[in-house]
Amino acid sequence: MSAGVAIHARDLTRRFGAFTAVDAITFDVGEGEVFGFLGANGAGKTTAIRMLTGLLSPTSGEATVAGLDVFRQADGVKRRIGYMSQRFSLYEDLTVAENIRLYGGIYGLSDRQIRERADDLLQRLGFAHAAGERVGRIPLGWKQKLAFSVAMLHQPRIVFLDEPTGGVDPITRRQFWEMIYEAAAGGTTVFVTTHYMDEAEYCDRVSIMVAGRIGALGTPTELKQRFGAATMDEVFVRLARPTEDAA
């Protein structure tokens, strides 16, 4: 892990009318770090991720992602990051190979780069035989591994994973995390959200958002010590009051 900073946020804030969804959050994520971004539903995670990925302008504060300013260089940010979510990643009506080609094109790779990286990707995942299969017909676990590989196709410096393992079988879930470790070992920064508290243990550091603010940030070991808890699940329950009235 190098000492460089991949994500830098200072007093990052987003208001919607009178409601402050993200309230002056400040943190850094190092290059090659696996950073868990946790919080209850409605705590502001999605809004924060949308700002960091250049999809939503902050109301105030500052943030740089992969060395670029998310206010002024949002398009550049998008080129340097990868993104996948549980809800949407790949086109179900396109085949595996077509999805890879489409995303390679969107990220500006040459035909040759796309071909080489697609072959390599399918080989590594053991999907070569399924290249012509429509994505809608492959099992969810495969789909999520494929979506992650596609999000990494343009070799981004940072990859954002929004609940990548929701509903996935327990073995695939663990294989997915091994892919995360490998990406991080190769220098990619991984910014990941999850509702599985055992996965919080797999992160180098974890932040927990509570009502728009960062309620706690540290290594899993530090957080468990600070809250006198045996597991990250207990830490989360102590800290994250669900913000029921924040709908």
Binding site: A40, N41, P139, A246
Partner: protein, 308 residues
């Protein structure tokens, strides 16, 4: 509830294959399995919304095909997707569901009070504008408002944060204590412990049925939890151990089983400790633990992920 050799196909896809189980009155029974395992298809058959291709299912002593109207009056069903009227208020939704079943909110208020009390401050809010946790509680109220004899909940906690999930299971525990039979599905293995009995489901088949404790106890071989600060390197080292059978990260530890069935846990601890220190792990910890539902599920999957 009694289900025998139940099967359902969609074209060439087998969604359910030879499903057998019973649920006793007053039980809190859970179906645990990943997306695509067949949980929703099963629930739709049991609530008379789909007709099975094979086998029989009886709910409250009634046949799911022949007696569908009687079953519909007596079951409560909370589908996986939020299915209330988004443009109606919280209270309007409840009144609507009560009136469909020929009752009124006033007549049933006592029954749903413990849950409704948590959303009553927002009675005038449009259902579509509620947070995830509140939508879920409103949907539960709507499924309960006609006093069903059995309640089906299809993945009520999917995508819900750990705190709201816990609260929701507390509510189900209260309903069970009042005698209601509850059948619930979830992809979260850690929720199995909240059930009296569970069925593990994968690719349309049941991998096992029993109490959470009995499923863990049926694991059948020593299970070791290994820990070291450098988990990634630890996993690789354990995989490289010549007798490794399975090596899975598990929270802050790595769970290990050995392919040699005749070795005791104590033997394995000694062997692994020696091996790991030779591999340069100065203070790796190794201890024997009881298998949980997720360990059992992975073993029953054959230790390999689902294939196409």
């Amino acid at each position: 509830m009694e289900v025998r050799r139940l099967g359902k196909r969609f074209g060439k896809e087998t969604a359910l294959d030879g499903i057998d189980f019973t649920v006793d009155a007053g039980e809190l029974f859970g179906f645990i399995g990943p997306d695509g395992a067949g949980k929703t298809t099963l629930f739709r058959i049991l609530t008379t919304l789909l007709v099975p291709d094979a086998g029989q299912a009886r709910v409250l002593g009634l046949d799911v095909v022949r007696d569908l109207w009687e079953i519909r009056r007596r079951v409560g069903y909370m589908p996986g997707r939020f299915s209330l009227y988004q443009d109606l208020s919280v209270e309007e939704n409840l009144r609507f569901f009560a009136s469909v079943f020929g009752t009124t909110l006033e007549a049933e208020r006592d029954l749903i009070r413990p849950i409704y009390a948590q959303i009553e401050p927002f009675a005038d809010r449009r259902a579509g504008a509620l947070s995830g946790g509140m939508k879920q509680k409103l949907a539960l109220c709507c499924a309960l408002v006609h006093r069903p004899d059995i309640l089906f909940l299809d993945e009520p906690t999917t995508g819900v944060d750990a705190v709201s999930r816990r609260e929701f299971w507390d509510l189900l525990g209260d309903l069970r204590a009042d005698g209601l039979t509850i059948v619930v599905s979830t992809p979260y293995m850690d929720e199995a412990d909240r059930c009296d009995r569970v069925a593990l489901i994968q690719k349309g088949r049941l991998l096992g049925v029993g109490t959470p404790a009995s499923i863990g106890a049926g694991y059948g071989r020593p299970l070791l939890a290994v820990r070291d600060a450098d988990r990634h390197r630890l996993i690789r080292a354990l995989r490289a151990f010549p007798h490794a059978r399975s090596v899975f990260p598990f929270g802050e530890t790595v769970h290990y089983t050995d392919e040699r069935a005749d070795r005791s846990a104590a033997d394995l601890i000694a062997e692994l400790t020696t091996y790991l220190s030779a591999e340069g792990f100065a203070d790796a910890g190794v201890e024997a633990i009881d298998a949980g539902i997720e360990d059992a599920f992975m073993a029953l999957m054959g230790g390999v992920p689902e294939a196409a």
